[in-house]
């Protein structure tokens, strides 16, 4: 037995070339085979790939899907993010606990099933949802839990949970998933039909500089959220010194409320890979990497197959489309449960087999990225746009949308609306128009851009969705007239505390303190000065944090303070003279009283 696992670990390391930059693959495989990456396994991995044990531990302890302690054969990860809780995830959670006789964070005594919570898994349009190992189960309800548990107990193969397949390629042989696309509106850029390989052939007839010129003329800006001009990024990478360069696609899609890349990955995979290939030609790279979030592991076999078919069709590999001197291929790198790995330098760290810590900038990835080589990182949708730009020409693209934000945008809309799903809209659409389209005209609040974006109310509904006004990577969460705002804000803060990498002080500590104060206010123990406290602390986190996560992590508090101040002030109390409402004498002495065997203190 013990020899078996050692052989297995050695074998896994060997299959990964005993290359420590492939640590993510190594530890994921070991976890898959052994149910965990134990201390002994860490020692052995370190020896095989010539690194230090604590380095391996450092990686394993960073990612939510990796563990140094054994878990159940089946891990149920129930999404407990905002949207799922709105649609009954707590009742579902209780049902799981009752049915299994364990609490979240525990494993059944027979070692079969572990229960865990997880933030958004990109299924907000069909919430509540969970991952059962790699298998997605959607539209959960309390009633369905009994069935799930008994099915798993009789046959521990989570695929048995899928009774009815979803639409589009979700039903394909290699996905076999119950996930629905919920494509509600098709626009000209993404969802118009596209002949496979045509855009690429057009690209290869141009010089790389001309391709970059076209992307610049189209004025394409990154679809991942930040909106950086894509052509400029490519130009930097092309100009950077070095023969080896990399094209990375960011398919980490971790911002709560975003699920449009999920749909692109099944329905527009060719368009995506073609865009990456075009990028490879433009910047002078022969290697592409698709960084796929661990939650989307169920798409991997399908995507591998699309790559395989593209190789067979000559659209990838040596001399792409017969173009001598242009070789390009793409591999898939799996993530393992870490929102921060969507931040491009953290993503690069993860690809390098490290903790998902962001890197110091400069140097920027276009100068020194993956393995210190010039690297571009772009969102899934950005690459799809590139393919369309080469297909229809930059002028066609540039005249769509609004002036500063050409083209269309995919929005993932969820929450209190009649038709949650994916909408391809022209940039410049007002929030009011969108709300009408999705059936949510009575919305009390809309979270634009996910927790890191802004919470806006009706007075902002005439504002437009574009880079210069309300920017979003795609997430639109709608909250109906009866929703209480502060618990939503609290959930968002919980998310950031769960997902901060912890590298820098303001983000690691400040968000915990913000949430504590928010909870005091929610408990009716806040005073007017506490709003200044939130503002001041929030601003410090924004100013001093090292990366985009921390720099936006106070937004739930700061934007709700601005747009929904009444929700705070109505809960404040006027402190009695000389008293601090936050101080709870009973709570403060509870432990001591228990030790001393005394009753509650008199205040």
């Amino acid at each position: 037995m013990s020899e078996n696992w050692q052989t297995m670990v050695k074998d896994v390391c060997a299959r990964c070339g005993n290359d420590r930059t492939r640590m993510m693959d190594i530890v994921r495989l070991v976890q898959q085979e052994c149910g965990c990456v134990s201390g002994e396994a860490m020692d052995l991995i370190a020896r095989q790939v010539d690194t230090h044990r604590v380095e391996v531990e450092s990686v394993v302890s960073f990612y939510a899907f990796l563990s140094n302690r054994p878990k159940g054969k089946i891990v149920i990860r129930l999404c407990n993010d905002v949207i799922d809780e709105m649609f009954g995830a707590r009742r579902v959670a209780q049902a799981f606990e009752q049915q299994l006789g364990i609490e979240f964070g525990q494993t059944t005594p027979d070692g079969l099933i572990s229960l865990e919570h997880t933030p958004c898994i990109g299924m907000c349009d069909q919430a509540p949802a969970a991952l059962v190992n790699d298998v997605v189960v959607t539209y959960l309800s309390r009633d369905k839990v009994g069935d799930i548990v008994s099915t798993l107990k009789s046959d521990p193969d989570p695929r048995k949970l899928v009774h009815k397949l979803g639409d589009g390629n979700n039903a394909s042989e290699l996905v076999q998933s119950m996930v629905h696309n919920n494509i509600r509106r098709k626009g000209p850029v993404i969802f118009d039909p596209l002949p496979n390989g045509e855009a690429l052939k057009r690209c290869l007839a141009l010089s790389p500089a001309e391709v970059i010129r076209d992307v610049k003329t189209a004025r394409l800006r990154g679809r991942g959220g930040a909106g950086f001009p894509t052509g400029m990024k490519w130009e930097f990478a092309r100009a950077a010194a070095g023969a080896k360069k990399f094209v990375i696609c960011n398919a980490d899609e971790g911002e709560p409320g975003t699920f449009k890349d999920r749909v692109l990955l099944t329905e527009r995979a060719d368009m995506l890979f073609e865009g990456m290939t075009i990028a490879g030609y433009a910047i002078g790279s022969d290697t592409g990497i698709l960084y796929l979030r661990g939650e989307y592991a169920y798409l991997r076999a399908f995507l591998e197959d699309v790559l395989h078919q593209r190789r067979n069709a000559g659209l990838l590999g040596k001399a792409v489309c017969g173009k001598q001197g242009f070789d390009f291929d793409i591999r898939i790198q799996m993530g393992a449960g870490a929102y921060i790995c969507g931040e491009e330098t953290a993503l690069i760290s993860s690809c390098e087999g490290l903790r998902g810590d962001p890197k110091n900038r400069p140097p920027f990835p276009a100068q020194k990225g993956y393995l210190e080589r010039p690297t571009i990182v772009n969102n899934v949708e950005t690459f799809c746009c590139v393919t369309r730009i080469l297909d229809r020409g930059p002028a066609w693209f540039a005249e769509k949308g609004s002036k500063g934000s050409p083209g269309t945008k995919l929005l993932s809309v969820c929450g209190d609306c009649k038709q949650p799903g994916v909408y391809e809209v022209l940039f410049g659409i007002t929030l009011a128009e969108l709300l009408k389209m999705v059936g949510a005209e009575d919305a009390k609040a809309v979270q634009v851009g996910g927790p890191s974006g802004q919470l806006v109310g009706p007075s902002d509904y005439q504002r437009t969705i574009c880079y210069d006004d309300l920017a979003t990577g795609g997430s639109i969460m709608v909250f109906g007239p009866n929703r209480d705002i502060l618990p939503l804000v609290d959930k968002f803060m919980e998310f950031f505390i769960e997902e901060t990498c912890g590298y820098c002080t303001p983000c690691r500590v400040g968000n915990v303190l913000l949430r504590q104060k928010l909870q005091e206010i929610m408990a009716g123990k806040g005073e007017a000065a506490d709003l200044d406290y939130l503002e001041d602390l929030g601003q410090s986190i924004v100013t001093a944090s090292r990366c985009g996560l921390g720099q936006t992590s106070a937004n739930p508090i700061l934007t709700s303070l601005k747009n929904f101040r009444g929700e705070y002030t109505s809960r404040l109390i006027e402190p009695e003279k000389g008293m601090k409402p936050t101080f709870d004498i009973q709570a403060a002495v509870r432990e001591a009283a228990a030790i001393a065997g005394r009753g509650p203190a008199h205040s």
Partner: protein
Amino acid sequence: MPMSQTIDFIIDGVEVSARPGQTILQAADEAGIYIPRLCAHKDLVPHGSCRICTVLVNGRPQSACTQPVAPGIVVQNDIEKLNNVRRNILDMLFVEGNHYCMFCEKSGNCELQALAYRFGIMAPKFPYQFPARDVDASHPDIYIDRNRCILCARCIRASRDLDGKHVFEFVGRGPEKRVAVNAEARLADTDVDVTDKALSICPVGALMRKRQGYADPIGRRRYDHQPIGSDIEAKRSATG
């Protein structure tokens, strides 16, 4: 040095000349302008984690210890807006751990404490978190008291880059992050040596040699008379 080799820019209204490749913090140090810092150390590669050194570069916040100098930039450092942020970060570090300054062996020589005094902090305004953290005293000559660790990574960098070892590394994520050692659990099981440079580089009382506490009497400790940063500022008053 020929003119083309210098990069001129402004910090707090003072014209500063730097060499290409220097960080703002290094250039400021040479010019006798003190930018507060904790994780930065002159013998180590920059880490950029404490964020105390945050300055405004042409109005944008950047960590001075990682940001390279560039011609013509305008850097704001000693302004109330930033000093308020710094006080808040210092407060965060105090409440995140358990810092019992009054009987800590590092008192008077501790950079965190000294910075708090420089910024006039008597008690943090944020609530203490009282985390449960452990102490590793397994080694005969060295101990780690994680209660006082501020996660600056100086020990990690020093062990790796100055000692050519890999005794320390961070494990865990977010608020759970902590310094671990390259062994199952105990410092005694690593190849750490009492002469390692990593052991004298901790800014606080987290990584210490045993039997050396309280060696300097009060009044002769490093920061008893002059606030932290005075040595750097002295250069400027001497030249200017």
